[in-house]
Amino acid sequence: MTVTATPTTDSQPGYKWVGTRPVRHDGLDKVTGRARYGADLNLPGMLIGAVLRSPHAHARILSIDTSAAQAMEGVKAVVTGADFPMLESGGEGSGEEYYDPRDLCRNVMARDKVLYEGHALAAVAATSRREALAALAAIEVDYDVLPHVLDVSEAMAPDAPILHDDLITEGVDPIPDEPSNVASRYVIDRGDIEKGFAEADVIVEREFVTQPVHQGYIEPHAVVADVGEDGKATVFCSSQGHFMVRSHTAELLGWEPSRVKVIPAEIGGGFGGKTTVYVEPVAARLSQKAGRPVKIVMTRDEVFRATGPTSGSKIRLKVGATRDGRLTAVEGSMAYQAGAFKGSPVSLGCMCAFAPYAIENVLLEGLDVVVNMPKVAAYRAPGAPMASFASETLLDEVAEQLGIDPLELRLRNAAEEGVRSVYGPVYKRIGFKETVEAVRDHPQYSTELGPNQGRGVASGFWFNFGGSSSATVHINEDGSASVLTGSPDIGGSRASMALMAAEELGIDVYDITPIVSDTESVGYTEVTGGSRVTHATGMAVIDACRKVVTDLRARAAKVWDVDVEEVEWVDGRAQHVSGDRAPMTTRDLAAGAAGTGGPITASAAVNARGAGVAFSTQVCDVEVDPETGAVTILRYMTAQDAGRAIHPSYVEGQMQGGVAQGIGWALNEEYIFDTGGTMENPGFLDYRMPVASDLPMIDTVIVEVPNPGHPYGVRGVGEVGIVPPMAAVANAIHDATGLRMSELPMSPVKVLEAIGANGG
């Protein structure tokens, strides 16, 4: 297909390509079904793997007998925990890549204990799925079932069943000598909390409860692993980072990373949940044992029962403000479910809850609590949504009590450049105020409401990350360019990379082929997570393009026999300053490359530091059916600071996607467990994500306050959109009914109960 993208009027002043909306390069293959996702690869001789999962939420494994399974027809390999090295704690990670090898290896294959219903404890590879499933049924496991615990308060009680005998709470003084389910305590302590509340004219305090929710990506985890006679593994899978899959898979198998090559498949959604491994090391070990490729594709049921949801939480918060609406103090405690292994995002929740505001006196405690459910994984702005549900609901209450418009309250307290954030650093140029103003000035904010209707607003914050990324740019013989990166494209990042390369090289965006390369074809790159790709990988692309341009200028100088300083690069051509030589395009220079130094190519790598923080402010209009408790979202609008929108359509897509997931979290999504700790709703019928007809068109306003830490001003845009919706919906329900909903989800049953409790 030949499409020429014409820069539209959308393009930013000073930019030709940045800010335009070309059709994404990978779009056609995706809408025609040609794109290859994790489950699409089939190899000759391939076996089908299946995983045996615990039926118990907490049990000691007394014995596993695989002999009958091993002997069955069609079964070529069986593995259990004994086939993987036992790793111990250590290794440092950061942000969304934090992990502890001790926990990861036990999560992928249980050892002495199963810690949640769905915990993997054995796997088989057979010539068909049918045979594989039959073999699983033939594995005999002897369990000593133990009492389990799911609720954070119960998990912290003195007589709670203990998940890990060696888990000693970190961050408390003195160091406890008994194990508990509290993995760590995190504290933000700033200013003088007593003075802050003494200055307050109003104080509001409330407790909030939220349930675990799943990322709900459409594509289940899927992998094909092929270990060759040379002992090297090729792993084809969809993930948010194939370098992450390589290092985790190698580590869990006891190998060096270079023994594993990971080929990234297209990814059907991740939202943070594909920043770790589950079946990849298992498929590799099975393949090694069987001598044949092994494919494992999770069912939806397995995705729910064994991969990361995000934490449920219990949060108590207290906020004080003066009569004129100045926030004087915030204090509270948050306990998050970590799942079976430590590492909930509770510290991030503490940091984010009040980050949009300038508040001097802060005392927040975060508790990371292990419970018998799947280990949580990152989910879009991990930790922030539940904390902001609490904080932004309380701000609404403060505004109500003081008779101040809720947006005005936010403007009066808005953090800006130079303010020290609640979590520590001093803000550089930020666009929080601008997002609030965008909502205030949007027509929705003054649309009249009917009976049983209400309006709510809320704001949110997310850090965004930078980190390590690599890129390589080749100028092809025809003058087009290939741009290779190591960042899986989840949200349209190929198009953004191509736009930035087009801007730098000065050639048409469709003359650029953006490629997600495997682990042996491009330099190390961290996961697609933390809203880091357009920022960090974008910087690597820009750097590599600039090196190419420098090279192209030098080659033109060589052809013209002039000083390189006399050659300018304008609109994809080398021009001599005098103007008396015919300019040379990339095509001209590529054609003559052999004579000027060989192929034209450059690589760049960054460890990007200057990530720009992101803010979002949103307004939600609802109608509540007072007889059934059903909440209908009538209108929704979100304003977000993107720094610079490289491809505005995909920025809008991220903003809308975050809101859609947030509304699901607000209204219906939740893990439901039976009394034995078994998940009762591991499917999309009863795990109620919103369907298309549940949502209105979500209106977007992109605010652009450039990030000084990126050449074009890019901030991450992928995550912050999910932070405000729960409070925006809750505040709208309050406006419609007078009820303060402090528990998620705000399902019809709960809303009707609240209406009834309020006297109907």
């Binding site: 001789g45 010539t127 068909s128 494919k295 549940d694 019809p748 049953v749």
Partner: protein, 316 residues
């Protein structure tokens, strides 16, 4: 055997045993039969141990995937003309037991005469599901939450059943005996569903409550049908509730309260209370007992009002 030969054979073996696309699917061991006449179907079912009939298979296949035991023989009923028919016959509507529910909305006269039945069928799943899902399957699957059943019951639907002993007709209301169980004997299957064409000033309605707007399962369903006289007073009233008891429950009190009267707020309040009272719901992941009771009353009233609006319009 020399090692090299073994390696070659192993290669061959793996090459031969690798239709991977095939391996990925759950392969069924059951036999498939598609009779083209009622007689043939009866004899297939008579001979086969553990045979199961199906129509759209929108319940059947998901249930197999969730681990229900496979039958020895799966009998596809869709090749029998009479089972996929939809016709007006004398003073009745006859809907084949395997007719896709999407067909109902395409029949303008049916939409005009039994709008509630059509809207109930139109709530099942999505367009894709409705292009397969049948009323017969919805009924015989015997889910307490099946959407079309309350609508069929308020319209006094009859079920025509074929079996080794010939054909018999019973009320739709007596087909389902409990969750997942029916009164059909072994070897019997449903042929068609029959409804009288409504007299003047008569209309039906069906409403359900789900937490989302589609692709969900009824927490409560309410079917209503009524006939009004010239003055707008109820002459006949029928209300049936789904998902609030093991099988569809009728609200006989609605008739006592409303016949001879108009739908006053006060009367409807009493109907709501009676509807809540006849429920025998369970607490589960989809709703609480208290919620189901309360919403059953709400929906019964809303369905009655909707049916009354329709009846008033058909009269003139």
């Amino acid at each position: 055997m020399p090692a090299t030969l073994r390696a070659v054979l192993r290669g061959l073996e793996s090459a031969l045993s690798s239709p991977p696309e095939e391996e990925l699917r759950v392969r069924f061991a059951m036999r498939y039969v598609a009779p083209t006449s009622i007689e043939e179907a009866v004899s297939v079912l008579d001979g086969a141990v553990a045979a199961q009939v199906y129509a759209g298979a929108t319940d059947f296949i998901p249930q197999l995937r969730m681990g229900r035991p496979e039958p020895g023989v799966a009998v596809d009923l869709k090749r029998i003309d009479r089972l996929t028919d939809l016709r007006r016959e004398g003073n009745t509507w006859v809907i084949g037991a395997a007719t896709p529910s999407a067909r109902l909305a395409e029949e303008d006269d049916l939409v005009a005469e039994l709008p509630g039945l059509v809207e109930a069928a139109g709530l099942i799943g999505s367009d894709q599901i409705q292009s397969r899902a049948s009323l017969g399957g919805n009924l015989c699957n015997a889910s307490p939450a099946a959407d079309s059943v309350p609508a069929m019951v308020v319209n006094d639907g009859r079920a025509v059943i074929a079996g080794p002993g010939g054909m018999r007709t019973i009320p739709v209301a007596s087909v389902v005996t409990g969750p997942g169980t029916t009164s059909l004997a072994s070897g019997e299957f449903l042929v068609e569903l029959v409804f009288d064409r409504p007299p003047p000033q008569t209309a039906d309605a069906y409403l359900r409550f789900i937490p989302r707007t589609e692709m969900d399962i009824a927490v409560v369903g309410a079917g209503a049908r009524l006939t009004l006289d010239e003055a707008g007073r109820c002459q006949e009233v029928s209300v049936a509730l789904g998902a609030v008891a093991p099988t569809v429950v009728m609200v006989p009190a609605a008739e006592d309260i409303l016949v001879g009267h108009t739908l006053t707020d006060d009367a409807l309040k009493r109907v709501a209370a009676e509807a809540s009272a006849v429920c025998n719901p369970i607490d589960d992941k989809r709703g609480t007992k208290a919620y189901r009771r309360q919403v059953a009353g709400v929906l019964a009233v809303r369905a009655l009002k909707l049916a009354a609006d329709r009846a008033a319009r058909t009269g003139s």
